[in-house]
C-alpha cells in the first residue's frame, strides 16, 4: 500500500484527514472492495466537493466518516482523523457523542431525516440538549435562533409546526439547522440539493457557503451535480470505482481536467452558455464492484489507454496544481516522495 506522506508538512493539522481508507463489503460471493485506498483531507473553513457517478463510492466515504456504514460494510484499513483524534476505531457510544457534536450530517431527502411525529422545535431542542448543557428555556431560544439563521421566516411561530407543514426547501433548512445544533466542526452534506428545484437549490447552496464561512466549519459536499460543485467548493475530488481519479482546486479540475475520466465527465455535462449538437460521451459504463479491471479501473473505457494502464495501478501524482491518478503523466511526481 502506498505510503501517502506527502501531505505531512503542508499544514499544522487539517481538520479531517483520511489516510489509505479501504471499505469492504463481505458477501456470499466474496468480498467487495467499495473504497480502495483513498486519502484526502479537508482544512478548517474549506468546502471539499466529492463527485462521481452512482456507485463510485462517494456516499460510502461520507458514511464511514460519521460511523454509519450499513452492515456488512466495514472499514478494512486506513485511518480517519478528526482534529488530530483517530475516530474510525471508536466504540459505538464514543462515536455517538462525536456525531452531532463534532460532525453534522445533511442527507438528500429532508423528509426522511426528520421525525414526522414530533414538531421541529422538539427535535431541535432535544438535539441541542443532547450535546450542550443548556436549560430547556435556553435551548428553546437557541432553536429559534438556529431557524432564523437558516432563513426560516417567522421562526418563533414555525417552531411548533410539524415537518409535513413545511415545503421541501424549508424542510432542508430545518435539517441544516439540526445539523448545526452543536456547532459541529465538520459538516457532511450528501446530495443536499438533489431533491430540490433549481430556484430553491440556489438558496440552500448560498446558505451552506455562508455557514462554512461564518462558523469556520469544514464541509464535505457529496453530489453528482457539477454545477453545484463549481459554485460552492474550494477543491474537488473525482471518484471512480472506489478510487480517487483526480483531486485539486475546483477551477483546475473543471476547466483543465487532467484524468481522461474527468475530461469525459466534464464534457458530458450540457452547458447553458453554448450549444452543442452532440455531447461528449464516455463509451461503456462504470464497472461493477465484482469485476473491477486490474491496473487503472478506467482503462477499458479510456481513449488514451497505455499498455501500462492494464497492469499497474496508478497512484495520485501532482500534475500542475491538481493531482491525478493516471499513467499519462508518467512518473513525473510519484505520490510517495
Amino acid at each position: 500500500m502506498a505510503k501517502n506522506n506527502q501531505t505531512k508538512n503542508r499544514m499544522a493539522g487539517p481538520l479531517l484527514k483520511i489516510e489509505n481508507l479501504r471499505i469492504e463489503f463481505p458477501t456470499r460471493h466474496g468480498t467487495l472492495l467499495a473504497i480502495d485506498d483513498i486519502s484526502f483531507e479537508i482544512a478548517e473553513g474549506e468546502i471539499l466537493g466529492v463527485v462521481g457517478e452512482s456507485g463510485a463510492g462517494k456516499s460510502i466515504t461520507g458514511m464511514s466518516i460519521i460511523g454509519l456504514l450499513d452492515p456488512p460494510g466495514r472499514v478494512a484499513g486506513g485511518r480517519i482523523t478528526l482534529e488530530g483524534r483517530r475516530i474510525d476505531n471508536l466504540s459505538y457510544e464514543e462515536m455517538r457523542r462525536i456525531r452531532g457534536k463534532k460532525i453534522g450530517a445533511i442527507f438528500q431527502d429532508p423528509l426522511t431525516s426528520l421525525n414526522p411525529l414530533y414538531t421541529i422545535g422538539r427535535q431541535l431542542i432535544e438535539t441541542i440538549q443532547t450535546h450542550t448543557k443548556l436549560s430547556a428555556a435556553q435551548a428553546h431560544r437557541r432553536a429559534i435562533e438556529l431557524l432564523e439563521e437558516v432563513g426560516i421566516p417567522a421562526a418563533e411561530r414555525r417552531i411548533d409546526a410539524y415537518p409535513h407543514q413545511f415545503s421541501g426547501g424549508m424542510r432542508q433548512r430545518v435539517v441544516i439547522a439540526l445539523a448545526l445544533c452543536a456547532k459541529p466542526r465538520l459538516i457532511i452534506a450528501d446530495e443536499p440539493t438533489t431533491a430540490l428545484d433549481v430556484s430553491v437549490q440556489a438558496q440552500i447552496i448560498s446558505l451552506l457557503k455562508q455557514l462554512s464561512r461564518e462558523h469556520g466549519a469544514a464541509v464535505m459536499l457529496v453530489t453528482h451535480d457539477m454545477g453545484v460543485i463549481a459554485e460552492t467548493t474550494d477543491r474537488v475530488a473525482v471518484m471512480y470505482a472506489g478510487r480517487i481519479a483526480e483531486i485539486g482546486p475546483v477551477d483546475q479540475v473543471i476547466k483543465h481536467p487532467k484524468h481522461p475520466y474527468t475530461v469525459g465527465l466534464m464534457g458530458s455535462i450540457p452547458s447553458t452558455s453554448h450549444r452543442t449538437e452532440r455531447l461528449v460521451q464516455i463509451e461503456g459504463a462504470m464497472p461493477r464492484l465484482t469485476d473491477i479491471p486490474t491496473g487503472c479501473a478506467f482503462n477499458p473505457r479510456c481513449p488514451k489507454v497505455l499498455e501500462r494502464c492494464r497492469v499497474e495501478r496508478p497512484e495520485l501524482a501532482a500534475v500542475e496544481d491538481s493531482r491525478a491518478a493516471c499513467w499519462l503523466y508518467g512518473d513525473k511526481a510519484p505520490a510517495h516522495v
Partner: protein, 358 residues
Amino acid sequence: MSEAALRQSPEAGAPLVSVQKLARYFDVSKPLLNRVLEREERLVLKAVDGISFDIPRGRTFALVGESGCGKSTVARCIVGLYRPSAGAILFDGVDMAALKSRHEIMPLRRRLQMIFQDPYASLNPRWRIANIIAEPIVAHRLMSDRKAIRARVDELLRHVGMAPKDGEKFPHEFSGGQRQRISIARALASNPEFLVCDEPTSALDVSVQAQILNLMTDLQAELGLTYLLISHDLAVVYNFADEVGVMYLGRLVEQGAVEELFRAPRHPYTRMLLDAIPDLDMTGRARTPVAGEVPDPIDPPPGCAFHPRCPHADERCRTEAPVSIRTADRQVACHGIEEGRIRVGERVVAQNNAVSVD
C-alpha cells in the same frame, strides 16, 4: 432525413401536434360527507390551465418548469393517459380527445409513444427484454409471425446500441442507462412518429445522460421523429430542443426558439430560472438566489401567478391574469413586458466555457 421527407403529410408545414387551450383539472375535495359536515367548498386543482403550443414535424419541443408546474400532466394528456378537462389536442389534424371508440383511437395511438423517467419502474421485472420490446408490436397486431417479431426486436436492440442476445435477459441485469435504451427500443417498436419523453435522463448520471441524449438525437435524424421533451433541466433543454415553453403553475409564461429564449429571456420567471442554474463557469461566483417558492397550486395567487416572487409586480399584476402576447419570435404572458415597464436585455454568459482537453 429521407424517411422524414416521406412522412410529410399533404399539408406540409402543418404542425404534427397542436395543443389548443388545453386544461386539466383535478378534484381534490374531501368526501361529500366531510364537505357537508365541515361546510367546505369543493377544491379543484388546476394542474394545467389553458395552454397552447404547436410542435412541427421532425422537431423537438421542450416544456420546462419546477416540480408541480403541470408539465408532466400535459405529457400525460397528450398520450391519452388523462382526458383533458377542456381544450383540444390535434395529432396530425385529428382531435384525439374527440375520438371515442377504441378502433378509432388505436391507429393514432400506434403513432405516438412515451418514454418515462424511471427506467426501474417502467419495465416489468418478470418479463424478458425481448417480450418487453415486442409488446407494442403484439398489442397493435403489427406482426403475427413469431420469427418476424423476433427479427424486428433484434433490429430494435441494435438500433439503440445493444446486442440481440440481451433480449433473453431480464431488466434487473441492466444498469439505468441500458434500461432507458430498452425503454426507447420499446417505444420505437410500433414505428411511431411522435415520442413524448418525460424526464428521460433525470434518473441517470451525467455521463450516461450524454449517451442517451446523443442516441435520441441520432434516432431523430434517422427516423424523422418528433419529440416532446419534459424536463426540469434547462441545460438539457438548451442542448437538445428546438423550441421551448416555460411553465409556471399550469400556464405557459413564455415560449420561443431555444437559442433566442436562452439568449434574451423576457418573462421575469424565465430570467429567474436561468439565473438560478449553476453553470460550470460559475466557479467562485455566487448565483443570485431567488426568493420564495412555488405557491400552493390549489390556491394560486390572483392575477399573474408569479407576482408574489416577481420584482416588477404592480397593482395590475396582482389583480389581472396576463394573456400570452405573440411577437415575431416569442410568446410572453406578462403585463410588464406588454407595457414596456420591464427592460429586456441579453443574458450575460461567460464565453470561455470550453473544457480544454489535453
